[in-house]
């Protein structure tokens, strides 16, 4: 029996989302409980020291412990109805050790001195058992202890403190805006996360982090029953490492795009976007079907983020390059020999791509990663040349370095931390350039906004991406909407066709809340910053079919 069958067995009586994850995702609680404080830092330090001492006594040479309280609230509506309100809390401890040069990990929800001691001992026992199959001992890059420090996401408004009714009212108001403008159906949702993580290690760090993320989204459907046609249009919001202030929809954060409606930067007007969505979903049903061929693509940041994620973020994860993900996500075309050559042209000279976990408002923004490394920014591609990867403490020695990039992450106290994607972003162009000015010089092109269908091979060469809305560009002008558009390219060819990048005034984030990796699969949240960017002569196919 597959897990999905088991979930079906256990799914009755719960909201769909409450059971879409694993059994251990947490307990359903009330909204008020999400505001109750967890145990204080002093108590957590005592518990963490219990783990560190217990592992040391059993022979561990390194130990880290994460005491995690993970709070989630998710709201779902459909047209005029509330479909579900889910509040969950998950609390426990994960302990990772090195013994006999081998990793061992164990986790428990029994957050008592006895429970933690037993868990630490199990982690050491697992490390020792696995060491028999170890080929090379773990080499851990050094980290200087940070002492007792704290880090909080700099939010202005805690989303958990906003009454559920107020949040539901916003979703229903967005639904109304869509319905009033011709949508047949609309589903909207708001996801909120608060990770209260206490990290301690034998390096001498005691890091108390309080991390917030949220994601408002919807999907609007227009139907033409007479023709049997239907089209959907997703929200152009993006998940952010922010508080509820992201939903303020401030005028200063609205950007009138060349297609004549607003895109959003540091705050989002959900009701306004819902209105655009209904109008555009209807327009999509009768929009002109694209003629396949080569086009110059002008990609909005809310679309380009996913292309960066798939064609740069993933192939430059060192564990993939080394083969650790071979049985699942795959390996990478960006092999070590290409990096060592020092002249591998990943993209054109315009392309400068950096990784970080420190950009304000981004999903990756955090003070320290899940192995106690202070987060930073570093270059992956400089002037088009591949210069580095994303690597963590037990990997950087392979690159001849002795400092981790600080991108280890675990999605729960019960999951072991491993290398996850940092924010991976494209640097804005240095010359003054707006999207409208960029389009003026395009003879035959397509302007693409929003994420759509996306697929890429297991080594990240060949990809095909769709989008949310497409506009035809002819002789420097936007002519109207297109449908059935997808572009197919090869990663290196595509990034080498990059000819122009708008300036920093157009720099915005696109993010993903549920990036999957590993077996058993873990999800992480990551942002990608970019400005509107032009790629020349990209192959566009027509995806329309008759059945």
């Amino acid at each position: 029996m597959k897990r999905r069958d088991f979930i079906q067995l256990s799914s009755m009586g719960f909201g769909a989302l409450a059971t879409s994850g694993l059994l251990m995702m947490g307990n359903s609680v009330s909204a008020a409980q999400l505001l109750e404080p967890g145990i204080d830092a002093a108590a957590k330090k005592i518990l963490a020291d219990t783990a560190l001492n217990a592992a040391l006594a059993k022979g561990a040479t390194y130990t880290d412990v994460r005491i995690g309280r993970y709070l989630n609230q998710s709201l779902f509506t459909r047209e005029k109805n509330v479909q579900g309100i889910s509040n969950s809390e998950s609390f426990g401890v994960g302990i990772r050790v090195i013994a006999n040069g081998t990793w061992g990990f164990s986790a428990t929800s029994n957050v008592t001195p006895d429970g933690i001691k037993a868990c630490a001992e199990t982690a050491v026992a697992i490390a020792k058992a696995n060491s028999k199959l170890q080929i090379e001992p773990v080499q851990l890059a050094p980290v200087k202890g940070h002492g007792e420090v704290t880090w909080d996401t700099p939010i202005k408004k805690n989303a958990f403190e906003v009454p559920v009714k107020e949040k539901i009212d916003l979703l229903l108001k967005a639904n109304d805006a869509a319905l009033e403008n011709g949508a047949a159906f609309v589903n909207s949702a708001l996801f909120m996360i608060n990770e209260q993580k206490y990290f301690a290690s034998t390096d001498g760090s005691y890091i108390d982090s309080n991390i917030h993320r949220l994601w408002p989204t919807f999907n609007v459907t227009a139907v033409d029953k007479a023709s049997g046609g239907f089209r959907t249009r997703q929200a152009l919001s993006t998940p952010m490492g922010m508080g509820y202030e992201y939903l303020d929809g401030l005028a200063k954060d609205k950007v009138m795009n060349p297609a004549g409606f607003n895109s959003y930067s540091d705050s989002y007007d959900m009701v306004e976007d819902a209105k655009y969505s209904a109008i555009q979903a209807k327009e999509k049903i009768t929009a002109k079907s694209v003629t396949p061929g080569k086009y110059d693509l002008v990609l909005d940041p809310d679309h380009l983020g996913l292309t960066i994620h798939e064609s740069v973020g993933h192939p430059l994860e060192l564990d993939r390059v080394l083969g650790y993900e071979a049985n699942y996500a795959g390996t990478s075309f960006a092999t070590l020999d290409k990096w060592k050559s020092g002249d591998f042209k990943y993209g054109s000279d315009k392309v400068n791509i950096f990784a970080d976990k420190i950009q304000p408002n981004s999903l990756g923004n955090t003070g320290y990663d899940d192995e106690g490394v202070k987060c930073k920014e570093w270059d992956l591609i400089k002037d088009g040349v591949l210069v580095n990867y994303q690597a963590i403490r037990d990997q950087v020695s392979i690159l001849g370095e002795n400092e981790s990039n600080g991108c280890a992450f675990a999605d729960s106290w019960s999951s072991v931390q491993f290398q996850r994607m940092a924010n991976v972003s494209l640097k804005p162009g240095t010359d003054k350039l707006s999207p409208a000015e960029m389009i003026k010089n395009v003879e035959k092109g397509i302007y693409i906004l929003g994420r759509g269908s996306y697929s890429i091979d297991q080594q990240r060469y060949n990809f095909q991406f769709g989008g949310t809305v497409f506009y035809e560009i002819k002789d420097g002008k936007i002519e109207g909407m297109l449908e059935d558009v997808a572009y197919q390219s090869n990663t290196q060819e595509f990034w080498n066709s990059c000819t122009q990048i708008c300036d920093k005034d157009d720099y915005r984030f696109m993010g993903t809340f549920f990036d999957g990796k590993g077996q058993p699969s873990q999800s992480s949240a990551v942002s990608h910053g970019s400005s509107t960017t032009r790629f020349d002569g990209v192959n566009v196919i027509n995806t329309g079919r008759n059945i």
Binding site: M1, K2, R3, D5, F6, Q8, L9, S10, S11, M12, G13, F14, L23, M24, N27, S28, V29, S30, N81, V82, N87, F105, I126, A129, N130, L133, I135, V164, T221, K225, A226, G228, F230, T232, L322, Y324, E325, A326, N327, G330, T331, V416, S453, S455, I456, D457, Q458, R460, Y461, N462, Q464, G466, A486, Q519, P520, N539, T543, G544, R545, I547
Partner: protein, 438 residues
């Protein structure tokens, strides 16, 4: 002890129901052991085991419902959880689509639990990994594999008298074998309720053969080809079709099963007449839950007969609204096959492509069920009844609806992700570009 007996589970559920004050109350208790071992680069990376138990309560007042869940089963915790669930329900908005809880039902036991799978321990997992890694290392091949095993139970009861209890086990094993120079890659995957049916060595042997045979693949032009899809590859695409048989979406005009002018395509011949799709929770190869997601007993069903759409899923709410019987989504589907072996299918092919599996499949157009994705881990060119040479991977853009109208032949079935899927020979399958990925 993560697996409660039926009696233990019933006792706890009855106790919770005795504390309840809501109009309707439902209690689920479920738990089990999940274990795994993961290896790559011919060495074990992670292995673990966890035991969990969780009890969940849903309380309903009128059309307002709320839930709470806990991991502790002592009386005080149970009482507190009931109070919390009722408090959340009182604060919840009304759900106009709420359907009253079902009363007692008759369920037929299905053979979802196998003792041998429940007996899996860390030594078994280590041995499984060793049996897979050793032959690869001895042949200059690199193994990356993953086993996940599960043994658990679920029980549910409500204030209307419904009670159900089921235990189940599962093993899911997959293995990727690559040549040391990275020019060849092979894959195999199996899932069972009964671990005795799994030999990691045999499954690894298939992946090893594919890795060696796929070295130095040649490029051939993308275009329309006759393809032979191994059951894993066919299952990757068929699941996308069979999971889309939702009547509500069809009635609402937003499904490939929506009819032009309104209504659904029930009764229409949408596929080749050799297409027969059924489900049966008692099938011994793919036993599944004895109840559907609404709580009704899961029955054997015919979804497609001789190419004609015979049934769709109807939730209780939608069934009532449409004046029909509710039909739940099945645990696993059975696509009828034939007697031909894969070798027979290759032998009768003049020119075609053999596909081991697909990867990164994403919806392109829900209207036509068009999907894109790529071949992976063993793609071969067939000419005059023989495998000629390995070919570079392709990207496809294809709809399972179009595929099921282009059937050349259907071969023997295999269990794939809880479904029974035949090998399929399909003409005019659309490959749109080449990939250098191995």
């Amino acid at each position: 002890m993560a697996i409660l007996t039926q009696e233990e589970a019933k006792k706890i559920i009855d106790k919770v129901l005795s504390y309840a004050k809501a109009d309707e109350t439902e209690v689920s208790v479920y738990g089990g052991r999940t274990g795994n071992i993961r290896y790559a680069r011919n060495t074990v990376n992670t292995s673990g085991e966890s035991n969990e138990i969780q009890l969940s309560i849903t309380s309903v007042f009128g059309k307002k419902s709320g839930s709470s869940s806990i991991n502790e089963l002592d009386d005080a915790s149970l009482k507190k959880a009931v109070e919390r669930s009722e408090e959340i329900a009182q604060l919840a908005p009304e759900n106009p689509e709420y359907m009253p809880m079902l009363g007692s039902q008759n369920y037929t036991n299905t053979k979802t639990f196998i003792q041998a799978s429940d007996n899996i321990d860390p030594d078994y997992r280590a041995q499984l990994a060793e049996d897979s890694i050793k032959p690869c290392a001895a042949n200059d091949l690199v193994a990356a594999g993953y086993l996940e095993d599960f043994s658990g139970f679920v029980a549910r009861g409500n204030s209307k008298g419904l009670f159900e209890y089921n235990t189940s086990t599962s093993v899911d094993f997959s293995i990727t074998v690559r040549t040391e120079d990275g020019t060849g890659s092979g894959y195999a995957i199996r899932d069972f309720n009964d671990v005795n049916l799994l030999s990691s060595k045999d499954v690894t042997t298939i992946a090893m053969q594919k890795a060696q045979a796929s070295k130095n693949a040649q490029a051939i032009e993308p275009g329309k080809y006759t393809v032979i899809l191994e059951p894993t590859a066919a299952g990757d695409l068929m699941g996308l079709l069979t999971r889309g048989f939702d009547a509500r979406s069809a009635d609402e005009g937003r499904s490939f099963l929506s009819k032009k002018g309104g209504g659904t395509r029930m009764g229409e011949k949408l596929f080749d007449e050799r297409v027969n799709i059924t489900s049966d929770p008692a099938n011994l190869l793919i036993p599944s839950a004895p109840w559907d997601s609404d709580g009704y007993p899961q029955q054997a069903q015919t979804w497609v007969e001789n190419g004609v759409v015979k049934n769709m899923y109807y939730s209780r709410y939608w069934a009532e609204k449409q004046g029909v019987d509710s039909i739940g989504r099945p645990g696993g589907v059975i696509i009828a096959g034939g007697d031909e072996s894969l070798a027979d299918m290759i032998k009768s092919t003049e020119r075609g492509v053999l596909v081991t599996r697909f990867w990164y499949i994403r919806a392109v157009d829900p209207q036509t069920l068009l999907y894109t994705g790529l071949t992976r881990d063993g793609t071969f060119y067939i000419e005059n009844g023989k495998i000629k040479f390995p070919v570079k991977n392709f990207r496809f853009n294809e709809s399972p609806i179009i595929m099921l109208n282009n059937i050349e032949s259907l071969g023997q079935q295999q269990r794939v992700g809880g479904d029974l899927i035949p090998a399929m020979k399909i003409r005019d399958f659309t490959f749109t570009s080449l990939s250098d990925a191995v």
